[in-house]
């Protein structure tokens, strides 16, 4: 079981992910729908893993990743974003995100990615 933070501006996706994570036995410690809130929630909860959307209002995912990595270099961040954003994915990875999943993502794929970053360490 891991403690997870979900960051996405889509209510639907957050709900889907929350259900999937909880079904898999993880605990969703918080959700955030924008970059600024993501950093705040991360600092507050220090989750084991964090899924991160990139294109969001108020401080996008990229900024959130840099800020999170700054105070937690061991953060395990998985980027979830749509196809067509490849350069942004590479940016995110260059900032220290560990893995990525392409939207529309099967929940299975996201779960695998989370398990991957949790076990690979």
């Amino acid at each position: 079981m891991a403690r997870i933070l979900i960051v996405d501006d889509s209510n639907y996706l957050r709900a889907t992910l929350r259900t999937a994570f909880e079904k898999a036995g993880h605990e969703v410690v918080a959700e955030a729908d924008n970059g600024e809130d993501a950093v705040e929630q991360y600092a507050k909860h220090r989750p084991d893993a964090c899924t991160m959307d990139i294109v969001m209002p108020k401080g996008n995912g990229l900024q959130a990743i840099t800020q999170i990595m700054e105070f937690d270099p061991d953060a395990r961040i998985i980027v979830i974003t749509a196809l067509g954003h490849e350069p942004m994915i590479r940016k995110a990875l260059s900032f220290g995100a560990l893995n990525f999943v392409i939207k529309p993502a099967e929940t299975e794929e996201v779960l695998q990615a989370v398990d991957g970053v949790l076990s690979g360490m």
Partner: protein, 601 residues
Amino acid sequence: MSGNTINWDPWLDDIERSLEMMGPAIEVLKTNSSDMKSIEDMKVVLHSVKGLMDSVGLKTSTQTVFQIEENVHQEMDSLSGETISQLEKVFARLSDLVKTIQKNKPSADGILDLDKSSGFEAILVTFGKEYHIEIEVKAEKSLRSARALSILNSIKRFSVIKESTPAEEDLYLDANFDFLILEVTSRDHLEDIQKRISTLPSVGNVLVEEVAAKEEVTDTIEGLDQSITIRVPLINIRAVENGLATLSTHVEALKSEVISTKGIEELVGIERAFERIQGDLRKMRKVPLDSITSSLPVMVKRLSKEVGKDAELLVQGRFVTLDRALANYLVDPITQIIRNSISHGIEPMKDRRKARKPPVGRLIINASLERDKIRIKVSDDGKGIDKEALLAKAKELGINKGKNVSDQEVFNLIFERGISTATADGLSGRGVGMFGAKERLSQIGGSITVESTPEKGTTFIIEFSDPDALSKNLIFNINKGTYAIPSSEVEEIIIIKPKELVFQSNTKAEYYYKNKLLPVTVMKNLMGNDTDIRKDKDSKILLVCRGKTSLIGILVDNLLDERLVNIRPLNPLLQSYELFNGTLTGREREVILVINPASIK
């Protein structure tokens, strides 16, 4: 804990006291690396320094000191030059750290920066080993760079990446590549690194090899020495090796004659020097697998294009080293297998697409060391061996297999003379076929087997023993002479009375063993005696061995010993005696002939 101040004064007092002890101890160790008092002092100092650093949150520094403390404990009564130089570095950094703290008296907030800038991390990294890593990145082209970055980030969590091809910056911009090639430093074991990387997403084949520590080139003469190669006939190296073996026999014998402690110490020193020279010589006559495979990827590309296909070759385990003489025997068989795979295994592109396989065929050479054996697997992801065609070809050659023939028996037909030589494309027909490959390998006591799955591919497995590996050997008497047999060839040792045997002649008999009649050879008589042992009341030793095709028994007089030794090839003068295939050195440094059970008829 922001704004917290640390009471530095008592901390500095303690650290300074430790430094006062550490400095002189290092100086002593530099001249005498086994000075017990200094080593003990060092252990105490490191332990308290570690605790002090931990107490103020200097994380990396604590870890560094912890690691070096471990090393000191492991090396016990004599520290290595490396450890001593690490200690010196720690001492220097520690002195700097004290000065910085005395000047700034940083608050708890500044600790992290202090830890980072203390220079301890740089020392920590040097504890790691260098690895060369090749990773096949399996992802669509548009996402491959991103996948590679993801892999890099994960690897960074347990190692320091010193070089990456493509470079990380190029990956940010999107690079064109299939393999990610890295030079890293890590404190993890090779197997752990391999495992960790293999489980990362989008990772295909992974090769991890340790990079041998390179001596730093300090002056130009040494640099020159490293760049010049001289050719020496292999036989000269072997001659030196034999000379050394003789010398060490004399040293061993001297050990029981010398009484003074000093004398024995000197002898041990000589022995160690011998071992080092022997190791260096061994390295000289060994070549990495690379030396015979480096030209193959290009050959695979060229040959596959010639027959209108496309294939690539991946070589794994290139760090496995082979005796130069053995390596020569592998070139032809491996080339033959590759020709065979391209010609029969790999499908034309359109067939591969239909079968939902990647359009480019994949051949993999994988070498590994397994105890005393070297194993080289050559596999393809083609369509597998065509059983019908093979059976038909065999029939043409007059080899008839019955109806209930197993798949494996059919696959084994590929090694029959004349089977795999001629094909429509003429590619694999250029060599001597798989029969030739098998013959060639048998000259070095090697074997070749095949495994194949329809639509999945075929794997040829070459195995031969590593002549430098140590092996266990049973030592026994026959007619008062001493002989040996590799323990791996012996299935069971049975003590019997001669009357339990059914004799056909003075040399041949049979023994009822596990519900079967085991052919037994009376070694005594095979080796020149002609005694009738039927009347012999003494117990004898029956060694149940793996013969050429099935189990055989060899009857010897008595067992003496089992020794873990290196078997040397037979002196050329003795090579006409089929019964023996090597020699080893006994406890009294006498030369013992090693019997090859496969030669007993």
